[in-house]
């Protein structure tokens, strides 16, 4: 690991209306790090990702991305550099697979259409779906849709990828294909924060693990250690339930 800090959360607090969802969350992510974020539902895992991508504002604390506070960036810079994949893919249903991938680089990054298409085809090959380039989202299986969503996000050439329970809406036999794509990206050194319930996947593919509990960081540390010998009683209880 290069040891260069790419992302840091300092005492981050987030409320929805008056309900606190993140309470003094601290996290340091170095370039190339792969984090698993686990915890019971409603513990703030997804919200944390939304805050990092500035899809949701925070009420106090700081999120520092590449040495600069998130609030000092314009939103576009953040969305260009931080990719996020959602549980329900959220492909654009009115656009073909190819257009889904090219639209943002073409309209947002103002690259030439040819360049965007070339890149899109490369990405489609990478996720193993080049033959689906002219299909529409409703013609895809969940697993295919999710891989397209990953390609769409990669087309913006992000520095860091956030995955929000990306396999939990999938049929069991489709999960593996999506995880393989994520594994490939991880191997290439993509800094990643992966909210997941797939503990075996986390064990195999992530360097660090963060256990969220009721909006707080319950425990964090190297994945293998945390999964094997959880120090926190709540972590232990959670792991016993999911494993």
């Amino acid at each position: 690991m290069a040891g260069k800090r790419i992302l840091e959360l300092k005492n981050v607090n987030k409320r929805y209306d008056n309900v606190p969802v993140l309470k003094d969350v601290n996290l340091v992510v170095e370039e190339g790090d792969v984090w698993a974020i686990i915890g019971p539902s409603g513990s703030g895992k997804s919200t944390m990702l939304y805050c990092i991508n500035s899809l949701e504002p925070i009420q106090s604390g700081e999120i520092i991305f590449q040495g600069k506070k998130l609030t000092d960036y314009n939103k576009l810079e953040i969305h260009e550099s931080i990719g996020i994949i959602f549980q329900n893919y959220n492909l654009f249903p009115h656009l073909s697979v190819l257009d889904n991938i090219t639209l943002a680089p073409y309209k947002v990054k103002k690259k030439s259409l040819n360049q965007c298409r070339k890149k899109a085809i490369e990405l489609l090959e990478k996720v193993g779906l080049a033959h689906k380039k002219d299909a529409f989202p409703h013609e895809l299986s969940g697993g295919q849709a999710q891989r397209i969503a990953i390609a769409r996000s990669l087309a913006m050439e992000p520095k860091i990828m956030l995955y929000d329970e990306v396999t939990s809406a999938l049929d069991p036999e489709l999960v593996q294909g999506v995880l393989e794509v994520i594994k490939d990206l991880v191997r290439e050194g993509m800094t990643s924060l992966i909210v997941t319930h797939e503990i075996p996947f986390a064990r195999e593919c992530t360097d660090y693990c963060l256990f969220m509990d009721d909006g707080k960081v319950g425990e964090s540390g190297p994945t293998k250690q945390l999964l094997k010998n959880p120090k926190n009683a709540r972590t232990k209880e959670f792991l016993e339930k999911v494993l």
């Binding site: 991508n53 899809l55 939103k75 576009l76 969305h79 260009e80 990719g83 996020i84 959602f86 329900n88 959220n90 492909l91 654009f92 249903p93 009115h94 073909s96 639209l103 943002a104 309209k107 947002v108 990054k109 529409f136 989202p137 409703h138 013609e139 769409r152 996000s153 913006m156």
Partner: protein
């Protein structure tokens, strides 16, 4: 030539043409300005806060919950009561435009709201600005929900322009009445008038069906 006793064909056609011209004029005014105003109001309702939305909704509800015929009668009598003069057809046009705008705004608001919040979130995460989101992601999906109900409202307002006859404007229905008052033979005239409405409305309804197919996802 006397087609129907009392009125010759030339007069009949002349009367109906005069009425039809007014009906078409009113329809075009209503559809153009009503759509424009309705679109702006409907869109505003999706971006303003609850308070302003509430205020807009009061106006929209008043218009939608009172009969157009009453609104026309008020628009007819109100200027005189307030002491100024305005062309009857202008007052009537304004009422019809506002009435259609109110209906149209509901269609637009519902159409935009019908697009899942996740589409906003996903497109935002890719860096699209608000207007880019609207243009490339939200509206193309919203049309799909809007077109059938918009067509319904549009056909409705074309037919409802006939109500302006209560304030003395001679449009298609009123010209039919005038012809009948001379011929005293209502049935064929009402058939003819009905047929003319059908000839105007039916192609629009067909056009909308084709448009609906065009905006179906995955068919280009």
């Amino acid at each position: 030539m006397e087609l129907i006793s009392g009125v010759n064909l030339k007069n009949l056609i002349f009367m109906l043409k005069t009425g039809l011209t007014t009906t078409i004029y009113l329809s075009i005014i209503a559809l153009t300005f009503g759509t424009l105003v309705g679109f702006i109001i409907g869109w505003l309702r999706t971006i303003v806060n609850e308070f302003f939305d509430g205020i807009i909704l009061i106006f929209v509800d008043i218009i939608r919950s009172t009969p157009l015929i009453i609104q026309l009668l008020i628009a007819y009598h109100l200027p005189g009561f307030l002491g100024f003069d305005i062309l009857t057809i202008l007052a009537g046009s304004i009422v019809i435009v506002l009435y259609f705008a109110a209906n149209c705004s509901q269609v637009v608001k519902a159409g935009i709201d019908s697009v899942a919040f996740n589409q906003w979130r996903a497109s935002k995460s890719l860096g699209f600005s608000y207007f880019q989101q609207m243009r490339y992601i939200i509206l193309p999906q919203a049309w799909r929900a809007m077109i059938p109900s918009y067509t319904g409202s549009a056909l409705g307002i074309i037919k409802d322009t006939s109500l302006i006859s209560v304030i003395g404007v001679i449009e298609l229905v009123r010209s039919g009445q005038i012809i009948i008052s001379r011929t005293l033979n209502p049935l064929p005239i009402w058939f003819i008038v009905g047929l003319i409405y059908f000839i105007v409305c039916w192609p629009l309804s067909k056009m909308s069906k084709r448009l609906e197919k065009k905006v179906q996802f995955g068919k280009k």
